[in-house]
């Protein structure tokens, strides 16, 4: 088990705000049409009126650990049951909507409004929305009580998603179709919070324990979970009573768990699969497939998952800032992207697609590949002859990460930092080494987060929930706290960028390298696939397939 496709699907444990998805995921994200030199792989934008029917065959490299979207941190769970549930509001997707747009549309809510003090949010639910016809819910109508049950459940469970509703002081349901949230403090983006896939509305029967969300998913979404054979397949069927007239177009979705990438590619060739997420690394493979399979469409997704070098700021040789900055300049990032990824862009602490991210040219400069400068910095730090260290990496993210680790090993070796690679299994890496900072230097991925603030607060402040590099910079703490209360947009953007510059120059751990692009390949008969980078796969309700 060692193929990138297999491993890339396991992203770092997800945080509540990480709703904006890992780009390495099959069913997310697109931002433009990818074509290779031969012009193959073009996405058919206008394929005529949608046709109903057909089953989409797709593959996953690993299965969801369980179906409980609140208890599982793995985004595989959200991918697995995202189409079963609905939220109050959801991000819009479609041909004319920009990829990753935060524009919302009503999902269960017909309309919603906020009070002037931004503390009271009222959602008016659609009437006549039916749950899937499965016991014990048996197709009853969804009411505001279910929203309350869901929020109460989130509050009662430990987990990252707690942060989403922590601000909710009171939740009232004056009638079956109205939900009123009263917030403890003003929040201008509370509707965005409710659009998070964690906020899928569950039936009260489940929250009261009449069935287990770990093994059963009953919602109001476009698809009904027909069967789930763990580590084998998930079968979704069209919801005949879906509240949006005429949707979904597909009769069903069949997801097969195929850990081996070669097996997935073989199945795509033979037409048994309609869609695979190809990995960023296999660009030549992708080109070959495009030239061999007629009509195959390629969607290149602009990267939002960052690769990171994590360095222990509290102990060991990397506790010296100069050493960490030397690392930043010693690695040939552009070369890495070119050799090992299908595309990507250098990034600061905040992913380039988010508000507050640094302009690209500035990032490029801050991360400039300059081994000579790296050597100088090392000498300044008192290591003119370099030193030896162990680089931790996991095979849990796939072969590519290990290759990149070896690339880094070579680059750092050239400036005098002699690394040996400590390859760990994913379980050890993610549950012990990383959160407990049992490393001097480590290379891996960071699951994308939703906002600039989340990146800065959780990873770079001394009390951050994911400050696993042990950063402790009072000045930075102050700056991060200060930007949160800035209301003027331009001013706040500047503040965020200042912080990023500060981090790059004075902290340099976790050191972001780049956000890489990914690619999805799908058959010529599949149309209207405009994904959103959250994990919900809700866009599949609009997808349709040409019928023979």
């Amino acid at each position: 088990m060692s193929h990138p496709m297999l491993r890339l699907q396991r992203s770092p444990v997800r945080t509540a705000g990480a709703a904006v998805a890992a780009a390495c995921l099959a069913l997310t994200a697109a931002c433009g049409t990818g074509t290779d030199a031969s012009g193959k792989g073009e996405i058919v934008e206008d394929a005529g009126p949608p046709q109903d029917g057909g089953i989409l065959h797709t593959a996953a490299t690993t299965d969801a650990p369980s179906l409980d979207i609140h208890k599982e941190a793995s985004y595989m769970t959200h991918v697995a049951v995202g189409t079963v549930y609905s939220r109050l509001v959801a991000p819009k997707t479609g041909k004319d909507v920009e990829y990753g747009s935060s524009e919302l549309e009503g999902d269960l809510a017909e309309k919603w409004s906020k009070s002037d003090d931004l503390k009271t949010w009222t959602f008016n639910l659609r009437q006549g929305v039916k749950f899937h016809d499965k016991p014990p819910v048996n197709g009853r109508e969804l009411t505001s009580a279910d929203v309350k049950c869901t929020v109460d459940r989130i509050k009662s469970l430990p987990g990252h998603q707690l942060g989403l509703v922590a601000n909710v002081a009171k939740l009232e349901t004056p009638d079956p179709y109205t939900v009123v949230f009263t917030l403890a403090s003003a929040n201008t983006g509370f509707d965005q919070t409710m659009a998070n896939p964690f906020m899928s509305i569950l039936p009260c029967e489940g929250t009261s324990g009449e069935f287990s969300f770990a093994e059963e998913a009953i919602g109001t979404g476009p698809f009904v979970l027909k069967s789930w054979k763990r580590d084998q397949e998930r079968v979704m069927e069209k919801n005949p009573d879906y509240f949006v007239e005429g949707l979904p177009h597909l009769d069903g979705i069949q997801t097969t768990v195929l850990p081996d990438a070669q097996a997935q590619i073989a199945a795509l060739r033979s037409g048994k699969l309609d869609m695979i997420s190809s990995l960023s690394t296999e660009k030549r493979q992708v080109e070959q497939l495009l030239s061999q399979i007629d009509g195959l469409q390629l969607r290149t997704e602009k990267g939002i998952t960052q690769t990171r070098v994590f360095m222990n700021a509290a102990e060991g040789p990397f506790s010296k800032l100069e050493v960490r900055r030397a690392v930043a300049h010693a690695i040939d990032k552009e070369g890495m992207i070119k050799a090992l990824r299908s595309g990507g862009s250098l990034t600061g602490p905040i992913t380039p697609t988010l508000f507050g991210s640094l302009p690209q040219d500035e990032v490029d400069e801050l991360l400039e590949y300059d081994p000579e400068k790296a050597k100088e910095l090392l000498a300044e730090a008192g290591y003119p002859d370099g030193f030896e260290a162990e680089l931790v990496a996991t095979d849990g993210y796939g072969e590519t990460i290990l290759r990149e680790a070896q690339w880094i090993q070579e680059d750092l070796g050239k400036v005098g930092i002699k690394l040996t690679i400590d390859q760990q299994d994913y379980a050890t890496y993610v549950s012990s080494t990383w959160p407990e900072t049992k490393y001097d230097i480590m290379y891996g991925l960071q699951t994308p987060m939703l906002t600039a603030d989340e990146y800065l607060t959780s990873e770079y402040t001394s009390t951050g929930t994911r400050n696993w590099s042990r950063v402790n910079d009072p000045e930075l703490d102050k700056m991060v706290a200060a930007q949160r209360v800035i209301t003027d947009e331009a001013e706040r953007e500047k503040a965020l960028q200042d912080i990023e510059r500060y981090i790059m120059e004075n902290v340099s751990t976790p050191l972001p390298l780049y956000a890489y692009d990914t690619q999805t390949l799908y058959s010529g008969k599949v149309h209207n696939y405009y994904p959103h980078p959250d994990y919900s796969s809700r866009e599949l309700q609009n997808m349709w397939m040409e019928q023979e």
Binding site: R284, Q285, G335, R403, Q423
Partner: protein, 295 residues
């Protein structure tokens, strides 16, 4: 492995068939070819640093994933621009290191168990030891390896430990069978009657007689270890990167199988030929030492 055991067991019955290299070569031409290949393998493994065109870890950033012959890389490069041929040659070194260490560790333990067991054949000591060996044999090697890897984590050392568990029972079987036989030989009985101590008898008469069947067994086990090591590395729990190992190279190259077949064909071919050579040599030695097979 099956063949290994029964073959070695058969050879064990006829250990006295000896002959020079020349006779071996004429009687077993395939064996001679195999011996030549193995010699080549060992020479390559030992001399890898001198004969490999490049450092197996050096990344030629200008020539990434180039086909054979391009940019001065006779067998092409991998995604990091490392020379596939050099890595394959160094892979022989890794394999040889692991196989020899495994055979040494597992062989010594297996030998001791087998010799002691055989010498005390039929007594409770024998029974206990043999049942333990049966139990060890009952766990499929990969499962055993996964188990050990889960406990210890992947490394060359742990691979050796895990693979030794696979070698011990096989060596034991050969050694015990042989001991049971020579125990009854007149010269051993004579030695015993003049009061030679047990260890002395074992060393003086036991070991020399064991050498021939052990060579057969060792050769066949070598093949088994090569495959097991590559399987472990293929699964990502064997030799850790960046150490060149055939199994790891196969695993690294599998996603490029269609577009850069050289990444896997070269190490795959060398692995298969090496396994083949050890299998053939084992067979040939067995046939050579076994008069019944000579017709």
């Amino acid at each position: 492995m099956s063949i290994a055991i029964s073959g070695a067991a058969r050879a064990a019955r006829h250990p006295k068939a000896r002959g020079g290299l020349v006779r071996f070569a004429t009687e077993q031409p395939l064996g001679a070819v195999a011996l030549f290949l193995i010699t080549l393998f060992v020479v390559v493994a030992v001399l890898a640093p001198w004969i490999a065109p490049y450092d197996p870890l050096a990344q030629d950033r200008v020539n990434l994933l180039t086909p054979p012959g391009v940019g001065g890389h006779p067998a092409g490069t991998d995604e990091l621009g490392r020379d596939v041929l050099s890595r394959s040659l160094y892979g022989a070194r890794t394999s040889l290191l692991i196989a020899v260490s495994t055979l040494a560790l597992g062989g010594v333990i297996g030998l001791i168990v087998g010799v002691v067991s055989g010498y005390f054949g039929g007594t409770w000591i024998d029974s206990v030891l043999q049942r333990i060996m049966d139990a060890l044999m009952a766990i499929p090697s990969i499962v055993l390896l996964l188990f050990v890897a889960a406990l210890l984590g992947p490394s060359v050392r742990n691979t050796v430990i895990a693979l030794s568990l696979l070698v011990i029972p096989s060596i034991n079987r050969v050694a015990r069978g042989e001991m049971l036989r020579i125990r009854e030989e007149p010269y051993v009985e004579a030695a015993r009657s003049v009061g030679c101590s047990t260890p002395r008898i074992l060393l003086r008469y036991g070991l020399p007689n064991l050498m021939a069947p052990l060579f057969v067994m060792g050769s066949l086990l070598f093949a088994v270890i090569l495959i097991a090591e590559s399987a472990l590395s293929f699964l990502g729990i064997g030799t850790p990167p960046p150490t060149p190992s055939w199994g790891r190279m196969l695993s690294e190259g599998r996603s490029q199988l269609e577009i850069a077949p050289w990444m896997t064909v070269v190490p795959g071919l060398i692995l298969s030929v090496s396994v083949l050579a050890f299998n053939l040599l084992g067979d040939a030695m067995r046939d050579f030492l076994d008069p019944k097979q000579r017709r």
